[in-house]
Amino acid sequence: MPLLLIEDLHVEVEGKPILKGVNLKIEKGEIHALMGPNGSGKSTLSYTLLGHPKYTVTRGRILYNGEDITASKTHERARRGMFLSFQYPTAIPGVSVANFLRTSLKSVKGDESVVKTFRKQLREKMALLEMDEKFATRYVNDGFSGGEKKRLETLQMAMLEPQLAVLDETDSGLDIDALRIVSGGINRLASPERGILLITHYQRILDYVKAQFIHVLIDGQIAHSGGSELAKDLEKKGYDWLQKHPEPAGAA
């Protein structure tokens, strides 16, 4: 049973159709990259996967571990093991990173016991991401630089250990060092039990995170799917050469 199966997904935002029949299959253990020009609907797909209220599914469905979650609430999806690393994470002034992570961990794992080892775990994961300990006392994304925000997203992912991680342009705005560190976080998460959907504008991150499958989203549909070599072609030729021809994607 696939970890994620998206079938003929149509999504509107404020009455405007954005996704026009997306099909995608992610099996456990796979890393998929979704590329595409600006405005093609990449972020819409990521928000829809987590159930943002502004994004209305008008047709199709999303199956997660075989269950239809198209109408599930956002927090339920998170508790089932779905995670979205935001392109533009929001600030929550007055709430410390540590408090936020602890609350989140308790919600997702549904178990107080994880909180006992929280401090230790947090310290370890922060060290791996080369983050200063003081970071934990700062307010969530409040006054963070772009790079700090992305690191915090990666830290959350490392703490929550989701089964399906959707990473929305996690690489944008990162310098090479930060990109290496964040990619390390993604690679550590990857396992035969997990799936990753990496949404990116640039081929660059794919030098660090090895995606087996590349998809190109154009005008709300997956126009092309291929193996890792496709990224290089896109880098060279851009997107224009791709004809729009929707097809059930996944194993290429």
Binding site: L84, F86, G94, S107, V108, Y139
Partner: protein, 473 residues
């Protein structure tokens, strides 16, 4: 945010079970309903007060009669006060006990439920517990007494230190100040008196807890705090009441005097039931290099009108007001601050944070006045309002009158609606909509809660959580 109608009932239920309970009336004495000269005389006679105090009361009573109600603020609610329907004096017990064991059983049970004796054991240096008109319990840490710190309920202070009271009472807030200050001056009963001698540092907080029990009760405590040169003190007050259908009136007068180099911090966590009018006058005088802080949290009441003030009369004096308000259904929190700079090299900061939900209304009303003789003054005002839905309201009424030279004024105000993006972000991390809202609200109030002793911060966060539970669907 979706339908909130189901939550209001829950909210009331919770207040009712936690704070809204009441004792059967069992007063040593209860004055007749309504106010006239006889009631004023009777209060004074029963307390065995000196003539000058009776005189003070009677003059204040005349002023009360002659003054109109405020012509500003929420007129509909203000005009809803019926002074004839209030009981102005209810004496619960023979006197303030020094041991909880000596407090009448019903009343002791009330304060047990409110957690006061426990808090006293854990982290307070002294406690006054006032029940309707008078203190039923009073205690101060022996060490403080040895240092010469005086902490008494106001009635006892008038008996033991009549000269000090006579010298200072009404000097910061004269009865002519406003109608409610006049009313308090006429019928005051209870409240705290604190004197901190030169150089004494009171490191643990002193607390007063004010409880209204009776229906249609009026509570008029009078507090006077004098911090002598170089001393410091932190005073905390809390308040709750049963939810009666008829309105109650709480109208306090609080006068603070910070002598040169003294530091007074005055913290309030006001959580009156939603039928209580809370019309309070609070003012401090800060002498040279003194520092006065008002930390003012308003969660309860029907209408609160309260603008803690600092008159900076000595060179180098500093003032800070941190005010937070939470206005729910049927509530109007009209709060703010008032700084009067009357000396050079003085400074002050006002931070106001309010949240409105379920049709509640919060207003920031502030005055910053800089007199001509005050030069090199620095003042910063920051007001943030958060609206949790489309039916609630927030307004700001800032006034600045600057006549001094080299005055540096900063003013920032913001009104925001709780962000869909914030909620989605938190929900994507497994929090329900209600949990997400609570987290955003707690964060919004963090500037306030971090200033509270830990126990109060935890309690306040819990109160906010209760306010939020079920309020989102």
């Amino acid at each position: 945010m979706s339908d909130t109608s189901g939550s209001i009932a829950n909210l009331k239920d919770d207040y009712a079970s936690k704070y809204g309970f009441f004792d059967r009336e069992n007063y040593v004495f209860k004055a007749k309903k309504g106010l006239d000269k006889e009631v004023v005389i009777d209060i004074s006679r029963r307390k065995g007060e000196p003539e000058w105090m009776l005189d003070f009361r009677l003059k204040a009573y005349e002023i009360f009669l002659s003054k109109p109600r405020p012509s500003w603020g929420n007129q509909a609610l203000l005009n809803g006060i019926n002074f004839d329907e209030i009981y102005y004096y209810m004496k619960p017990s023979a006197g303030a006990a020094r041991s909880w064991e000596d407090v009448p059983a019903d009343i002791k049970k009330t304060f047990d439920k409110l957690g006061i004796p426990e808090a006293e054991r854990k982290f307070l240096a002294g406690v006054t517990a006032q029940y309707d008109s008078e203190a039923v319990y009073h205690q101060i840490n022996k060490e403080l007494e040895k240092q010469g710190v005086i902490f008494l309920d106001m009635d006892a202070a008038l008996k033991q230190y009549p000269d000090i009271i006579k010298q200072y009472i009404g000097t910061v807030i004269p009865p002519t100040d406003n109608k409610f200050a006049a009313l308090n001056s006429a019928v005051w009963s209870g409240g705290s008196f604190i004197y901190v001698p030169k150089g004494a540092k009171v490191t643990m907080p002193l607390q007063a807890y004010f409880r209204i029990n009776a229906e249609k009760a009026g509570q008029f405590e009078r507090t006077l705090i004098i911090a002598d040169e170089g001393s410091s003190v932190h005073y905390i007050e809390g308040c709750t009441a049963p939810t009666w259908s008829a309105d109650a009136l709480h109208s306090a007068v609080v006068e603070l005097i910070a002598k040169p180099g003294a530091h007074i911090r005055y913290t309030t966590i006001q959580n009156w039931a939603n039928n209580v009018y809370n019309l309070v006058t609070k003012r401090a005088v800060a002498e040279q290099d003194a520092f006065v802080e008002w930390v003012d949290g308003n969660l309860g009441s029907k209408l609160t009108m309260k603008y803690p003030a600092v008159y900076l009369v000595g060179k180098g004096a500093r003032a800070e007001v941190l005010s937070v308000a939470f206005a729910g259904k049927g509530q109007h929190q009209d709060t703010g601050a008032k700084f009067v700079f009357a000396a050079p090299h003085t400074s002050g900061t006002i931070t106001s944070k309010s949240i409105s939900k379920d049709g509640g209304r919060s207003s920031y009303r502030g005055l910053v006045k800089v007199h001509p003789q005050a030069h090199d003054v620095k003042v910063n005002v920051r007001c943030d309002a958060l609206l949790l839905d489309d039916i609630s309201r927030s307004d700001t009424y800032p006034t600045m009158e600057i006549d001094g030279q080299r005055v540096n004024v900063g003013h920032e105000a913001s009104v925001s609606k709780i962000g869909e993006e914030q909620l989605f972000y938190l929900q994507s991390r497994g929090l329900t909509e209600a949990e997400a809202t609570t987290m955003v609200v707690n964060g919004f109030f963090e500037a306030f809660t971090k200033e509270l002793p830990l126990e109060y911060a935890v309690e306040l966060n819990r109160l906010i959580q209760l306010e939020m539970e079920g309020s989102v669907g």
